[in-house]
């Protein structure tokens, strides 16, 4: 029982990190109908900048630098490459992001090499004792920060001008353009926010109990893909719920590894995809996604 609750808590906190990353996918998809395959690399860029700068800027300054770098990188991708392809199908744009991912990931891998960089976070390997349960401090911090950020995002999405513009453009881009909403700015803003969220996710993705910033972090961040898809690619709620589901399921699977040994080692890495496929079989547009409408 104790183990179950501990796993649940740490699963939920990991889930919030996934939610931050998945939310990035969703925001970009909503605003520009692009599935951003470069998201993992942008996340890695953010984490890398934090790892490189925390010595001189301090942890908080480094996080700020990482968030800015990732946001800037995302905006550059949108403005320099994707905007030129106006009129291309959204899936062509999606494949362009694969190309961008390859460039970014290669360069970052070259810089990082086989090293494991320390993110310089204040929580290190401390553990918080909540009653009889112990949870890594970094995970608690992750959950707290993620909840605050998600709340702030939700509020902005719901109440600010930016949020109204985003939601209008997401629902009907042409209709929004006719109202004078500048789609280019909405798109750039969405990419910036998604990049910032990815960097933040990257920070908590590389704190204890994970070893630190490695070249493979970008790829493992792809686990947020199933989270975004099973929640529904165009749903903010879906991203959070999907993230939590994936966080809990992976943590539980790894935690109870011994009980399900017959399913093989490393099941925690696969189980997000299994859950995703099962959910999609039941609901082809995810839990909260909008159904595609066929018109003739």
């Amino acid at each position: 029982m104790n183990q179950f609750v501990e796993l649940l808590i740490s699963g939920l906190s990991l889930g919030f990190v996934y939610a931050l990353i998945a939310l990035g996918f969703v925001i970009i998809f909503k605003a520009t109908r692009v599935v951003n395959f470069a998201h993992g690399s942008i996340l890695l860029l953010g984490a890398y900048v934090v790892a490189r700068t925390h010595g001189s800027l301090g942890f908080a300054g480094a996080v700020l630098a990482g968030v800015l770098a990732a946001a800037l990188c995302a905006v550059i991708v949108q403005l320099v490459i994707l905007r030129r392809l106006r009129g291309a199908t959204t899936d062509t744009l999606t494949i362009v992001t694969i190309g961008i991912d390859i460039l970014l990931a290669t360069e970052l891998t070259r810089r990082i090499g086989t090293k494991v960089l320390n993110i310089g976070d204040p929580w290190r390997d401390h553990v918080v004792h909540l009653g009889s349960f112990s949870v890594p401090s970094a995970r608690v911090a992750a959950a707290v920060v993620a909840i605050l950020v998600l709340a702030a995002f939700t509020a902005a999405f719901k109440y600010s001008d930016w949020g109204v513009a985003m939601r209008s453009a997401a629902e009907d881009a042409e209709g929004a353009a006719l109202m004078g909403i500048r789609l280019g700015r909405v798109a750039a803003g969405a990419w910036a926010v998604a990049g910032a969220l990815a960097a933040l996710g990257g920070v908590f993705f590389t704190t204890f109990p994970t070893p630190g910033v490695q070249a493979t972090v970008g790829l493992s961040a792809l686990t947020a893909f199933p989270a975004a898809i099973l929640g529904g690619l165009d749903s903010v709620t879906g991203a959070v719920v999907g993230g939590l589901i994936i966080g809990v399921v992976t943590t539980m699977t790894s935690g109870y590894q011994d009980h399900i040994a017959f399913l093989g080692r490393g099941l925690g890495d696969v189980v997000p995809y299994v859950v995703m496929v099962l959910v999609l079989l039941w609901r082809p547009s995810g839990l909260f996604g909008t159904k595609e409408v066929t018109r003739v």
């Binding site: 490459i81 999606t94 190309g99 070259r110 898809i229 496929v277 999609l280 995810g286």
Partner: protein, 378 residues
Amino acid sequence: MSDRSRTLTRLGWVAMWAALLLTPLFLEQFWEQAGLFAMASIIGAIGLTILTGTTGQLSLAHAFYVAVGAYGYCYFAGHKTVGVESVAGLGLPPVLALVLAVLLAGVAGALFSPISARLRGIYLGIASIGLVFIGQHILFNATGLTGGFNGRDAQPFGLAGFQFQQGSPDITVNGIEFGELEKLWYLGLALVALSYWYARNIVRGRPGRALESVRDSEVAAAVMGVDVARYKAAVFILSSMYAGLAGVLMALVFGRIVPNTFGFPLSVDFLVMIVLGGLGSIRGAALGAIFVSVLPRALDHFSGSLPLVSDAGGGGLQPSQAARLVYGAAIIAVLLYLPGGLAGIRRRLRRDSDPDDPVQQPTGGPRLPSHDLKETAT
């Protein structure tokens, strides 16, 4: 097309095939291996372009089906071994094993069709990624069949007593000993020719038209009598069988297969091949496959003589990394500047030289499914 240009095209084909047939007499082993890997890629890419380009079904599961073909062949053709690396095997004749492995990939494709029939566009694309990760998990853990992390050996090919393995029988042509790679080269060529020809027939024939109509408008296709669900399932199976055949060839070329070969990056490679080549074009898929599969090897090979590129561990840009950068940049550049892909270049050239050519590049063209089902202008 005028008679003259038709003759020229024919001559071109003859010359190309003649060159391909004579190649093993000149090439070093390294290039033979690269060429064989390119052949396997061509077969796989053709399968994917029929699925994604012609039918508009985005799939990133191709690596999984390639793995099914590769491991299927090793299982059917391999012999049961016991010891440190005990793996199961049926010890069937290699030709039969090849056919069975391709069929097995088809069956695996059919098993996914309940999902592929329900999902559309990017949802299908990402659901199919799931298949790759699940497949990897199985490859790592079903050690009795796959050999796990260390992989398993592929039984050398043989055809009715004619063994492909070194030295049985010895053939020497022009002073060059015909080893396994040289023999595989001809097997590969035959398989590529067969795959290419079959795909061309399909795409130009009744099934191809039905598939294209499914891509362009499922409703219109259904109303014209096309059983959309059945065709979607059929094309998924066909594409998986192509992938399976590619896998068999890869297993034969590598001699030993390991799970890491068949990960998500391989799926992305296949997608990039067909996009670079020009979606829906069989020839484009072949060109894209050659580009993507040979590029990293070539850069690796010439790393000593290229500026900026240094050998592994040299501190500078490693050849594999240089290849990745060129590769990434090529994807972006082609999509930005060559909407029709590599196949589009040729079409454009031909259009310039032959203005009456009716088969010019249309503005519509094969596209991946779009999410916006917008009506066109009034």
